[in-house]
Symmetry: C2
Subunit: 440 residues, 2 copies
C-alpha cells in the first residue's frame, strides 16, 4: 500500500474546521480536501504565493509560514510554498506533501489552538486572483477514454475508428505548455487552415467547429532522471495532484492538419486549468478498482500490477455547463451539457506514468498530463461537443431553447468536478471557466 | 529589408581578429560568426554563464561585462548574458542582439584597443563544458523536407506516402523539452512497445531500429502574446538563432504508437543540440531565394511574401558522420553518412513562425523549433538511417568495412554544419555529438 492509497486521520469524514464555511454541505473545500493554488489579492500588486483552500477562504501559506505556528518538515514545506510557483514544493516529494497536509489538517480543525495565530492568514476566495499553480515545463495529453477514442475515431476515420494499438498503448502526445492558462482567461477564436470536404483547396478562416474537451489534469511532483524508468507501483510517489482541464479544440483545423504527426494548431491556441490542485493524498478515499475485461488484451508487464488493479482508478465526477451570452443577459442559469467520471478511463494514472517513462523520458516537477477527454459509455457522458452533436450533425438543445453544434462567440464553458461516496467527506475541485471571444 | 537580411560591417569577409585562431582557414568561429553558448570551465563548480566563440576560444561574457570596455545597449545586453541561461538576453530583441554583435565585432577585430582588456576574458574551448544555452519552454518539431516526408511516408504508408495536406500546411507537432540535452550527453537505448509486422501482439523490447535525424534547430528570441499573430514579414524579429539538432528516433516504437496522435515515446527519450547558437544576423550572407514551382500549390496568404521568396531560405550545409566502437578502438576516422542543405526545405523559417502563430499560439524566448529531418533530393542527401537503409532493407557500408541498417550500442553520431559561398566568410556551427549506451 502506498501513502497515496492509505487512509489516515486527514481523511476522517467527521473532521470539522474552525473555518465555518468549510463545514457546509456540498462545500468543495472541506478540511478533508486542502488543495493548493497560487494566488494574490485581486487587483493588487502583491507577490503571487501559495495558498490552500478551506471553505470559502484561502489560507495564505506565506503568512502561515511567518505565523510561528508550524515547525519541522511542514515549516520547511511552507518556505517552498512562499513562491510564485509551486514547483519547488512539488519537487520535495510525498514525505513533505503529507507532513504539510497533516499539519494543516490539525491546525485548521475545530478546537485547534492555531485559530488565534492563523485566522489572520485567511483571505476570502472572492477577493483573490489566481495564476498557474506552477511552471508547466512539459504537457502531455493522453487519450484514455475508449468511448471518446471510438466516437471521435468514427468521425475522423469512419472505416477505422479504433486503431489496433489503442488497447495496448496508453496513447499520448505532447501538447503546448505556453498556452495553458488559469480559469478566467478568455481567448479569441483561433484562425487556421480549413478544408471543406468538397473543396479542392484549404482556406484561412476563423474556426467554425470550436469545441471543449472535459479532462482531468495530473501534476507531476517529484521527477525522474533521464534514462530512469518509473515502476507502475512507484508512480504515486511522483503524482502531486489533480485539476480540471479544458483542452479547447478546433475540430475543423484538426481534421485537416492532424496527419501524420498529430494535432498541433487545433489544440495549442488555449488550454485552461482550474486554479486548485487537489492532492493525490486527498483523493485516497475515492480510488476504485481498475478492470480490464478478460476478453480484452491484458496489459504488458510494465503496465500491470495488483495494486493498480485494486485501486488504480479515481472516481472523479466531471460536469460541463454552457452559459451563452443570451443566458447571461437574461440572468438564466447555465445549461448542462455533460456528466461523466474519470473511473471510466481505459488506462490509469499509474499506467500513464509507467508508460511515459518506459523509454527513460524524464518527468519534471510541475509537468502536467491531460487525461484526454473523459467520455463515459453513454451519449450523455460524452465529454465534447463533437461527440454530443455527432460531428455537428445533430443540434444540442440548451435549457433556454437555444441550440448549438459547436461553441459560438460569447459562450462560457464551465467545468466542475467532485468526488462523493458513502462514508467519505465529499471533496470538490472548484471550477474552470473561460469565454470565447470573437476572432480578430 | 529586415535587419536579419541586411549585410553590415560585421559580415565583412575581410575582417580579422586579434584572436589569431579565428583567422585560420575553415575555422568554424571567425569574427563574422560570434555565436552564443552557456559554459563554464570543465569540471569546475563555477557558475554557468554566457560565452561567445571566437576561433578556438570562448569570450566569457560575464568577464566581458566586468571589463569596463563595453557601454550602452551592448553593456546592458552583457548583463543579461551573465546568467545560466540566455532567455533574458533572447527576450531583449534584435536591437540588443545587433548592438552586442556589433560591439563584440569591433572589440575583437585586429588592432582593436580592447585586446588588453579582453584578452583575459578568453578561455580555450578545450577547457570548457557546456549546458543548454537556454531554458527551452516548448519545443516544436516541423517536417519541412518533402524528400524526407515522401521517403518516410513510403515506408510507413506505402499506398499513401505524401498526405494531401503536406503542400499546404507546414506540418509540425509538439515535442518533449525535458529530454533535450547538449552535445556530449550520451543516452541509453530506449525500451518500448514494438509489434513485428507478422506478430499478433506487441512486446516490450529495447529499440531495434534506433536512428538519428539531421535537423536544424531554431531558437525563438522575442515572443508574442497569446492571441497575437506574427506576420511572415515580422518573423525575423522573433528568430534569435540556429543550432544543429539531432532528434533521435526509435523507428520500431514509432511505427506502432504514432497513430492517431503522432510520435511520442519514439522521440522523447533524447534529443541533442549543439552548444553554440549561430545568430540569425550572422547568417544573413547565406540566405537564398525560396521557390515554389508554379505547378505546385502556392502558399495561402499568411504564408506568402515577396521578402520570403527573395531570401527566406538558408543555405546551411549539414553533415552526419558515424564513429563505431570498432573505429574508436582502432583509431580510424568516422565514416560519412549524409550531406545535405537546409535550402531544400519545402517551408522557410518565416513560414514556420507565421504558421505557428496564425491561431494566436504564443511563442516565448528560448522556445525551439526543429526543422524536421533535412533530407535533400538525392539518396546521398537522406538525413536519417531509415532513409539511407530504405527502411532497414539495405545495408549501409561504412569506410572500415562495417555495415549498419540502424544504430548499434557504442555508435557515436557526429553532426556538423557550416555555411560557405563565394564572397562571404565561411562560418560554422561546430558539432553535436552523442553516443548510444546499451539499454538497461
Amino acid at each position: 500500500m502506498s501513502y497515496a492509497t492509505t487512509l489516515n486521520e486527514t481523511h476522517d469524514p467527521q473532521l470539522t474546521s474552525w473555518v465555518n464555511s468549510a463545514n457546509e454541505e456540498n462545500c468543495d473545500f472541506p478540511i478533508q480536501n486542502l488543495p493548493f493554488a497560487i494566488f494574490r489579492r485581486a487587483g493588487s500588486n502583491e507577490a503571487f504565493r501559495g495558498g490552500v483552500a478551506i471553505g470559502d477562504q484561502v489560507l495564505d501559506l506565506a503568512a502561515a509560514k511567518n505565523s510561528g505556528y508550524f515547525s519541522g518538515i511542514a515549516q520547511t514545506a511552507l518556505v517552498q510554498c512562499d513562491a510564485p510557483e509551486l514547483n519547488a514544493f512539488m519537487a520535495m516529494g510525498q514525505t513533505a506533501w503529507s507532513a504539510l497536509r497533516l499539519a494543516l489538517s490539525q491546525a485548521l480543525r475545530s478546537g485547534a489552538d492555531a485559530e488565534s495565530k492563523l485566522a489572520g492568514c485567511l483571505i476570502a476566495q472572492d477577493d483573490v486572483e489566481y495564476q498557474l499553480p506552477c511552471r508547466i515545463g512539459d504537457y502531455t495529453d493522453f487519450y484514455t477514454s475508449i468511448y471518446h477514442a471510438t466516437s471521435v475515431g468514427k468521425l475522423f476515420r469512419p472505416d477505422n475508428p479504433l486503431l489496433p494499438n489503442y488497447k495496448w498503448v496508453p496513447i499520448g502526445y505532447h501538447g503546448r505548455s505556453s498556452s495553458i492558462e488559469v480559469s478566467g482567461s478568455d481567448f479569441k477564436r483561433p484562425k487556421g487552415q480549413i478544408k471543406a470536404p468538397d473543396a479542392s483547396e484549404p482556406v484561412l478562416s476563423a474556426c467554425k467547429r470550436l469545441d471543449y474537451e472535459m479532462e482531468v489534469g495530473i501534476y507531476i511532483g517529484e521527477g525522474n532522471q533521464l534514462g530512469d524508468i518509473i515502476d507502475i507501483d512507484q508512480a504515486d510517489k511522483h503524482v502531486f495532484g489533480f485539476c480540471l482541464f479544458n483542452d479547447w479544440s478546433a475540430r475543423d483545423i484538426q481534421g485537416w492538419e492532424y496527419q501524420p504527426l498529430g494535432p498541433f494548431l487545433a489544440k495549442n491556441f488555449a488550454s485552461t486549468v482550474s486554479p486548485w490542485i487537489v492532492t493525490n493524498e486527498a483523493l485516497a478515499p475515492f480510488r476504485c478498482a481498475w478492470q480490464r475485461d478478460a476478453a480484452e488484451p491484458q496489459p504488458l508487464g510494465y503496465l500491470e500490477s495488483e495494486q493498480n488493479r485494486q485501486n488504480g482508478a479515481f472516481d472523479i465526477q466531471l460536469e460541463v455547463q454552457l452559459e451563452t451570452a443570451q443566458m447571461r443577459e437574461a440572468g438564466q442559469p447555465a445549461s448542462h451539457l455533460s456528466l461523466s467520471s474519470f473511473r471510466h478511463s481505459y488506462w490509469t494514472v499509474a499506467q500513464m506514468v509507467a508508460h511515459h517513462t518506459i523509454n527513460g523520458c524524464n518527468l519534471q516537477p510541475g509537468d502536467m498530463f491531460g487525461s484526454g477527454t473523459q467520455s463515459g459509455p453513454t451519449h450523455e457522458e460524452a465529454g465534447s461537443m463533437l461527440e454530443l452533436s455527432i460531428g455537428g450533425k445533430q443540434k444540442i438543445e440548451l435549457d433556454n431553447g437555444e441550440t448549438r453544434t459547436f461553441l459560438e462567440d460569447g459562450d462560457t464553458v464551465i467545468m466542475r468536478g467532485w468526488c462523493q461516496k458513502e462514508g467519505a467527506k465529499r471533496i470538490g475541485f472548484g471550477e474552470v471557466v473561460a469565454t470565447i471571444l470573437a476572432a480578430d
